[in-house]
Amino acid sequence: MSPRRRAGGGVRAGAGPVEFALNGRVVTVDAHPMARLLDVLREDLGLTGTKEGCGEGECGACTVLLDGAPVCSCLVPLAHARGREVRTIESLGGDHPLQRAFVAEGGAQCGACTPGMIMAALALPAHATRERIRQGLAGNLCRCTGYEAIYRAVGRAARETAATAAGGGGTSSGTVAGGAEGHAAGDGSAR
């Protein structure tokens, strides 16, 4: 570790734990603030569902939700997670409507892009049109499927979630997520 510089100015030269909410639980990580969030998730916290693809924000394989917005965790310093909410593929458990739909539609082949695709899809509004789904997944590359099966899977999950909500099986969430996460990047639109 580099020596700490003069105190004050919020200087953090590689010392001090970082606290954030991860999949609904508060975690504290003693890692460098310039560490990639991707590495902290995979190596410090053992959550290897988040994949590394290109390491430069092109492929979307490492997508997680940061305060509800999809971001590439390879381009996020740990410092930017401090005090915020991070959600990874592990939060879905394994029987989430999106996961079932990807299986049913053949939306996953090699699987490297799948966690990132699903995390990006989680941020889409419910009843997203095909065009909106395409836009929402435009930052995620897949070299196997040709994308059509993925778009079908996301559409299917949205329909299932809507049907469940309409059938009184749950509260309508307003997103494909079926959870509380909205398309909540930034601080709103009314400016």
Binding site: V11, R12, M34, P77, H80
Partner: protein, 275 residues
């Protein structure tokens, strides 16, 4: 290769004043905000800088507002902020259009307009818009603020008049008269760096700016003058061909860029006719 974490330092000021003081007293420091450029360079080991200052907590720099008739965009406004802003959509729709074509959602949520400007890539998507809109940049240091016309900001490839102790804090845009137009040409719709990118305003004297055809974003004063003087589009395209000097690189060729730039000029002129 990514440098060892132990060789890097990060300062995390809570206020602009504190950030400017750090830049003055403890520099040189490389500012970070959305990290969509800086982290790529760090991850690939191509950035020599090791000492960073994080601007992401300076919430006041993220606002988009109107002030004395001007549109004032905080440097930390993300592309998503620009897309969602009613003010931007109403006053500078070509900027909202450019923001929609940056990367994909993940990059739009993180990347900032200030970073796009300061990074100074000749391919920066927002830059032709700011050149065509004749934006003004507000640069702050511990000693005060100064305003620089956007068209005078760059001095060369990835080089500008910004001093190491200064931060770009806001971008001001006076009301833009005339019809606005933007078009990015890349390999695919998303996640592509432009081969040619054009923003233009159709007014009595049209204003036309191109990216990816020179070491910096450029305005085309001779082409603009030709069109203002009543030249037909074929003549204006000939002027444009003399006015830009694109290169062959990994994304495209000089010849392709010449051809596409000429096509974009004609498309702009047709799309904005009769307005």
């Amino acid at each position: 290769m990514r440098p060892a974490l132990g060789t890097m330092t990060l300062r995390e000021p809570r206020t602009l004043r504190e950030a400017l003081r750090l830049l003055r007293d403890e520099g040189p420091l490389t500012p970070l905000a959305g990290c969509t450029d800086v982290f790529v360079q760090i991850n690939f080991g191509t950035l020599r800088a090791k000492d960073f200052v994080d601007l992401s907590r300076l919430a006041s720099l993220r606002r988009i507002r109107e002030e004395d008739g001007r549109l004032v965009i905080g440097a930390l406004a993300t592309y998503t902020d620009l897309i969602r802003s009613r003010l931007v959509r109403r006053r500078l729709p070509m900027l909202a259009g450019a923001a929609r074509e940056v990367g994909g959602p993940q990059i739009q949520h993180r990347g900032t307009i200030g970073g796009n400007v300061v990074n100074g890539s000749p391919a920066g998507d927002a830059l032709p818009v700011l050149a065509a809109a004749e934006a003004t940049l507000v640069l702050a240091s511990a000693g005060g603020e100064r305003r620089v016309p956007f068209t005078g900001f760059y001095t060369g490839y990835h080089a500008s008049v910004l001093r190491p102790d200064e931060l770009l804090v806001a971008i001001e845009v006076a009301p833009v008269e005339g019809r606005q137009w933007f078009r990015k040409v890349g390999t695919r719709a998303a996640q592509a760096i432009s081969k040619v990118v054009m923003a233009a305003v159709r007014d009595g004297l049209p204003r036309i700016a191109l990216g990816s055809v020179a070491p910096t974003v450029v305005r085309l004063p001779h082409t603009e003058a030709a069109l203002a003087g009543g030249a037909d589009i074929a003549a204006a395209q000939r002027v444009l061909a003399e006015e830009i000097h694109p290169i062959d690189d990994l994304r495209s060729t000089a010849r392709y860029r010449q051809r596409v730039a000429a096509n974009l000029l004609s498309r702009f002129w047709a799309d904005t006719a009769g307005g």
